[in-house]
Subunit: 462 residues, 2 copies
């Protein structure tokens, strides 16, 4: 007999885990909706020509490809088969792949529906994506992304709104976070020092490691890579990190001689406006060293990390969200000049962070949940009526399916962390009453159905 298993890098989400995931998702969704974002869902299957060439060579490698149906070999030439070369064979036997992220499908949707969409198009999308990556702790082959984007507007009002939405979601989740913000224009200002795009790219890759290898580590690597010319810029960047306050940082950048230019001025103005529009900036910090996915972003960029006092000191998980402005979302599909800005919430990492901070206590536990237990078959019909009457007034009511020994029924209720059992035997049925047991305190009493509802309601609920 086969022993079933799960594909590597995939997971089942049990009811307990699902309650917690749904708790996070529902808070996100309520914030998204209150800001006027609408839900979008796109198919898991996309044509490979939609996906390929959008994520770099490495991304193309990580796409899950779906075999064509039927006799998929019938039109494959002998030479292709004999070559035993997957690169030449794959395009003949696979036309579709699994969604790799939510951004390319958004771009495709916008292009295909541009005549029906009212721009600016504010959409949220919370769906799984698939990557044929090597699975490891915290990295899965099937995982969820939760994206919000504003497409077709270039006002930084949207950047400020997205920051406030980050703040609202994490405040409601009760999770302390630090939101870092930077601007592509600030980093571009270092082109003057670096001289060419290649060296600039290398510089970005190296300074991105600052969190891990520190000031000295970055300086050393810059020298090793022959970028001595950038040591001054790195020194400036490192020092800017410890300048207190976002205003002072802006002033520093505006007055630093070696990086001036119109692009910088525009970037600093945008940052200044965003910071003004955001009401509370306690957990929002300018960080000129933030350099994420730069080939993609053209304006402000964001990154969120958990930094909750309840997290263990050695807890490190990296960013739990990020995003930024991009000026050419749909160009690859033939629609020019569509600017957008978006951020992503990493559901799996938010979950892990909240779990590590102990923030799930009580989620999914309903002290009013009630199990109706019939002592024997003769009481079942009466008990089913009682369950129905209770359910009309209480959030969760179950009738045990069948009449095993009471202990077995109560074990079930306790396993599910239910708050009450309503027990019905012949005596109760004759008296049109129930025996009500509080499963937390152990207290037991006889009462009418209405009396039971009163007592159960009095404990409060979630």
């Amino acid at each position: 007999m086969e022993k079933p298993s799960l594909p590597s890098g995939t997971r089942d989400f049990s009811p307990m885990v699902m309650q917690r995931r749904k708790y996070i998702l529902s808070i996100m969704e309520s914030v998204f909706v209150s800001h006027g974002f609408g839900a979008l869902e796109t198919p898991s299957l996309e044509n490979l020509k939609t996906l390929q060439g959008k994520y770099g060579n490495e991304g193309d490698q990580l796409l899950f490809k779906v075999l064509n149906s039927g006799d998929y070999l019938s039109k494959v030439g002998e030479d292709v088969l004999h070559s035993k070369d997957v690169k030449s064979l794959t395009p003949h036997i696979s036309d579709r792949g699994l969604r790799y992220d939510l951004t390319v499908p958004l771009a495709r949707f916008v292009v295909m529906n541009r005549n029906d969409i009212s721009f600016p198009f504010k959409r949220y999308q919370m769906q799984p994506v698939w990557r044929a990556d090597r699975p490891q702790k915290g990295r899965y082959r099937e995982f969820w992304q939760c994206d919000i984007d504003v497409v077709g507007a270039n006002s930084v009002v949207s950047e400020a709104e997205l920051v406030e939405m980050y703040q609202a979601v994490f405040e409601r989740l009760g999770l302390g976070v630090k939101i870092r913000i930077n601007h592509r224009g600030v980093l571009d200002a270092f082109m003057g020092v670096l001289g060419n795009r290649e060296d600039w790219n290398t510089f970005m890759i190296v300074i991105d490691k600052a969190d891990k290898i520190g000031y000295e580590g970055v300086a050393k690597e810059l020298q090793e890579r022959g970028l001595e010319k950038a040591l001054g810029a790195w020194d400036w960047l490192w020092k800017s990190k410890s300048v207190d306050g976002n205003e002072a940082k802006l002033a520093l950048a505006a007055s630093t001689e070696f990086m001036q230019g119109d692009a910088l001025t525009k970037a600093l103005n945008e940052l200044r406006t965003i910071l003004k529009l955001v009401a509370h900036s306690d957990n929002l910090a300018l960080d000129f060293t933030l350099a994420r996915g730069l080939s993609y972003y053209t304006g402000a960029v964001f990154e969120v990390e958990g930094c909750d006092v309840r997290l263990p000191a050695d807890f490190r998980l990296g960013s739990i969200g990020g995003g930024g402005r991009y000026d050419n979302l749909t160009g690859v599909f033939g629609l020019k000049d569509v600017s957008g800005v978006g951020v992503s919430f990493g559901l799996d990492r938010i979950y892990d962070t909240m779990e590590a901070a102990g923030l799930f206590a009580g989620v999914g536990v309903n002290p009013q949940a009630t199990l109706v237990c019939a002592m024997d078959e003769a009481c079942l019909l009466f008990s089913s009526g009682v369950a129905r009457a209770l359910r009309a007034r209480l959030p969760v009511v179950e009738l045990y399916p069948g009449t095993p020994k009471l202990k077995k029924q109560l074990d079930y209720a306790n396993d599910k962390k239910m708050g009450f059992a309503v027990i019905i035997g012949n005596e109760e049925m004759q008296a049109n009453q129930v025996a009500l047991k509080n499963l937390v305190s152990g207290e037991q009493s006889h009462c009418s159905v209405d009396g039971a509802i009163q007592i159960i309601t009095a404990v409060g609920g979630n």
Copy 2:
């Protein structure tokens, strides 16, 4: 430039469609939760050895198979390649496939987690499934199933509960339905007349067409297939359909000589108990001709059809839900004697039926939704504060990103069917006021932010 497209048989769900889908899903979910069902989600990717052999030969053909990663040809023998035979090649290049339904993943989950689950295990699961079927009207390659199952209990209390849950969901959706119920034991009672399983199977296939081809059509096909011996049984079945009332039907079956036996007696007793346990049977009808997926079910079976007075006379979509009891869910994975009962809600068909009946009017429209419009850049900061104050008290508040002409901003609000616009120019800002425009009535007034909240709240919301 490539023109993007969707794979055949897949769909994008726009925000308007998503609001309606979420409306249906949330009503289902609230009913499921109130009956103590917990959410389960399983991966889209399953090992092919989990899926294959579970859905018959036809089902195996319809599985979407995912290409292995990397150099998937490296270990394939030359002979296999040269044979050009997909049946021999596929097992070498594909280990995983896409979920075909939610039942096999449930069975796999139960077997893998049997030591951690408290039985009876009541779970709901609402996720997409994939079938490489020929797409046609109402049939997709990626579509949603919504299943509820009670696993590990054999009391018909669960059958009654599932019927009541069907009733509760469709009542809350406001959609009139007819729920038909039958029992495998009733149909098995015709074995005496048919004589062997093969003829019995043929009989089931033919009577299943009664809705389409009528009494005469079935009788004719039975003769053509050499089943004259079954004409009397068919006559009985057809007449039983017009017997008024479930009790009378039970009495008819109990007294019909040619189909007696212990199995029938047990089946009729179970049906009698289920009908007693269900409080309202106005839309629940015994139908001894109901014969769905019989190789799988072992007890009661159900099927739901839309029959709403508001549906067009020519509206035909088939069942929008169905299910039944199965006695060997997990046997194929080595866990014996696990009985279960479950029903499914066909989200796509429920959607289409509700749309045809005109039941989506008002869904997703929020008369309190408000757009804050800044007349120029100088008003943006003030306007953003107003939007924040409004959002603290109203369900949906947007600040238009940017300051184009007012007409453009109002067009956006009207396109999104928002109820109000709050317009802020220099005068309003100086007076610490707003201009409030009711986008439905056209009325406009000047008021404070608190005044605006009062007026907007007074229209009521969803």
